[in-house]
Subunit: 360 residues, 3 copies
């Protein structure tokens, strides 16, 4: 069961080259995404209504898309407006199945459900990490990971794994604070607090006087951000907001502990889009208010790529163990701190139940 | 559902090398095909009755086939006639499941059904394109295409796709005449006529004064055939005969419009053999009454290979969209001219229904 | 259906390198196998009880195994004894599913069933082919063969195939004696006798005056073993013991026919372990009382590898013909001598029936 009434990230804008038609499977459905000559974004079931040929084998002609097999053309409304060799275009029944599509927060989003689309801004009010002159960064994509989207979401929401999967980058001692989780909304040194909203959970951590035992790559970023000596202790604030069903927002702020005004931040939006019950796409957008310039962006991109491959090795193997079922339908033992994961899973279950009732 | 009471092309004769045993899956059944030392063609279920080992792992010994595992030998009637180390051969129950097999029209044909075989000549009376001194050409095979055989048959039977899939070879303006389809048996300039038989449909096209906008490769063939200038207008006649369930015969005749007596022809028999519901083999035999010699045969073979790869990319993707079902069981919109495809599909459906009734 | 109440070979001891965790699928179950720092062998379901991560992605820390995802540690009893960042270890419910595991006869064995483990020595009393100063040799493994284990067992138990599959190694005329099978326990020249036990079948063969028409590789081994001329006739005794469900013991003794006291022997234990209904692992251990030294061991290993690849080509293709079913559920014709295979299959069927009854 996958949640349908949701805006999902379908693409990074740079994937939509002029004249190109991008194909991506979302919620078990093949979707074609393209831009008309006038710049308008379009998304449709990747299937011509004539003979089921994928639209992705076609081409853009001005403000229409043309099927690559027999040449039928479809306009902005999805209607077939021309068939080569045929005097009159077919009647209204010959039309594409279009999906609502928007560009926001540096991503291309689609609404796959038959229900009227909800407000994307209401869904993600705090994720204003699109283009802004003070913030620098980029986007990335891992397509068709062979794991249920919730395993990726779980991974992003349990930072203790960094000590074991990412010791050379982010695996510092502060990740163990996750096991000292308690309700609340304050930043408490050496602990994590959590606060559940209707469809979100916010977790906050404070680590004072983090020293040289931090993850090496994190430590290097701190030096780059603060221009300080590598070994100088820092204070670190971390806010993680999980939004159902599969968005995770990280905001990390570091400052040297001798000078709280000298601080720098990094913000990452992780968006996981279900491809099927056992596969997903992982998009991220990472921006920072320090070290502007492409060189740092590229260093970060390379490192994020390597780091995420480490995670991928884990949750693709978890999926093999689980098979087609759901991790949480199996006998499991949870540790301290896992309460937020369990709570997130329950939120998703409630949303699915609401979708399957007649009046929803 | 696949039609069983039919002769299907199983191989090109040149695939049956002396002493070799060819394996090919037809109608979901693994078939072994070989020639005895006396030249007799044999076809059987590719499974030894002793321990289910494929016969294709065995060898030909004189006029028997020997299983490669334990050495049992089977004669022309399929009966086991020798077991190494055993004094007496097994009783009659130890026999191969043989299939009727013949060589005709430049192909090797098999009859897979339990019903007595029909007359192959009655099935394909007009396809006399075997070896003849005035006709030159060759054969080809695309094995195990990942598409239902009807998608390939549809493709061969709707030439409008040439404008989009084969613009550099056959995609001339005359392909649009297909959308001006009307009943009849005449050649009408600028149109196509169609005539349905009991198990066949014949389509005819006439294109007068075809000019320089023809498909480039077609244009090159015309120059080769007529020895005329490239830009000289021609008249083109095309006859296409579809025979259920999956044979398509093309006969194209070209002449310079200033001299109707100077004409040349090309004849192609396309034979599509179901491997399973979602895969098929495509055989063709193409002969011409001009430009004799191997060089032209090889040029044509290379071009047919490239051209068909373009089609293959389309219908293997169509199959992905359809899944395990049938294209025509899905919601579809048909265009002008598609009436002949729809009629062909209906013929196949009727044949299937007839096969599944007790008295058929 | 696979037999559960059985010791199966899970690994060769040399696969368990210090600090390594070996993964292998047995009876459709992923199993992790490792050695603690104190040398103790461990085997468990390859799945952490916390979040189903494979243990094979973890590491050995002293006498515990640590999950590679969130760092939980498990001791010799399988109990979780530490979670990083968490003050108290979880309660007893957080434990690995351990399997009984022993090292014996040069192999690592596991007991996968929930029933109490039987005596391995009672199961295989005669297979004392472990390390002994007078016997030289080595072990090998073919992992994840795409065939049901019974097809491999059948193969090892019907030596007539050697004439067809292994003509350049073991395919001599004496293999045909298999088709002259009769009840008994004697060695009878030119024949094979068989004797069925409760869960085993013993077959004996005597071939006097075997000459130059023996399998060439066998002939070369005879020369190596006896130091005699290549062409000198020999007497050959062969004892084959099949033990349910999938162990086959070969003992071959050769002597020059002019000197019965000058004899040499080779002993092989073949152990086939079901991975699933359609895949298995094949282990062997081959020892000899002649030609000590690594060079001969390596020559034999290379040849056994090549010879078994020939068999593999056969039974992986048999499996393709059979699909998911069982060979003996299909219509089959058996030859003379196949009575022992049929008897072995019946023994397996009886064992399966006994396992599925409540009181077994």
């Amino acid at each position: 069961m996958l949640i349908k009434n949701c805006w999902y990230v379908a693409a990074n804008p740079q994937e939509l080259q002029a004249g190109g038609i991008l194909g991506r499977t979302i919620l078990n459905t093949p979707v074609a995404i393209w831009r008309l000559a006038n710049g308008q974004l379009m998304a449709a079931l990747d299937r011509c209504p004539h003979r089921a040929t994928p639209l992705t084998l076609g081409r853009i002609i001005e403000n229409t898309i043309q099927c690559g097999y027999h040449g039928a053309q479809f306009d902005e409304s999805g209607q077939c407006v021309a068939v080569p060799g045929q005097t009159n275009a077919p009647a209204r029944g010959c039309a594409l199945r279009l999906y609502p599509v928007v560009e926001r927060h540096g991503f291309v989003w689609v609404w796959m459900s038959d229900a009227p689309p909800a407000s994307l801004d209401a869904m993600l009010p705090q994720f204003a990490i699109g283009n802004h002159p003070d913030w620098h960064g980029g986007s990335g994509l891992f397509e068709s990971l062979k794991a249920n989207y919730k395993l990726v979401s779980d991974n992003l929401f349990d930072i203790t794994h960094a000590e074991f999967i990412h010791p050379e980058s982010f695996g510092g001692p502060e990740t163990r604070y996750y096991r000292r989780m308690e309700p609340g909304s304050d930043y408490v040194d050496g602990k994590m607090t959590y606060e559940a909203g209707e469809r979100s959970i916010t977790v906050r951590m404070l680590a004072r006087n983090l020293g040289d035992d931090c993850g090496p790559f994190f430590r290097w970023m701190v030096s780059s951000g603060l221009g300080t000596e590598h070994k100088q202790p820092i204070d670190q604030e971390l806010e993680i907001i999980w939004v159902a069903p599969s968005f995770v927002y990280f905001r990390g702020t570091s400052s040297p502990n001798h000078d709280r005004n000298k601080r720098f931040s990094m913000v990452v939006l992780h968006a996981v889009t279900p491809e099927s019950e056992t596969a997903c796409h992982y998009f991220y957008r990472a921006v920072r208010d320090f070290a502007p310039g492409d060189e740092m962006t590229q260093i970060l991109a390379r490192n994020i790529y390597d780091i995420f491959q480490q995670d991928r090795a884990i949750f693709e193997k978890q999926q093999l163990r689980i098979g087609d079922g759901d991790l949480f339908d199996q006998p499991l033992v949870s540790f301290a701190g896992d309460i937020v994961q369990v709570c997130a899973r329950r939120t998703i279950r409630d949303m699915l139940a609401a979708e399957s009732t007649p009046n929803s």
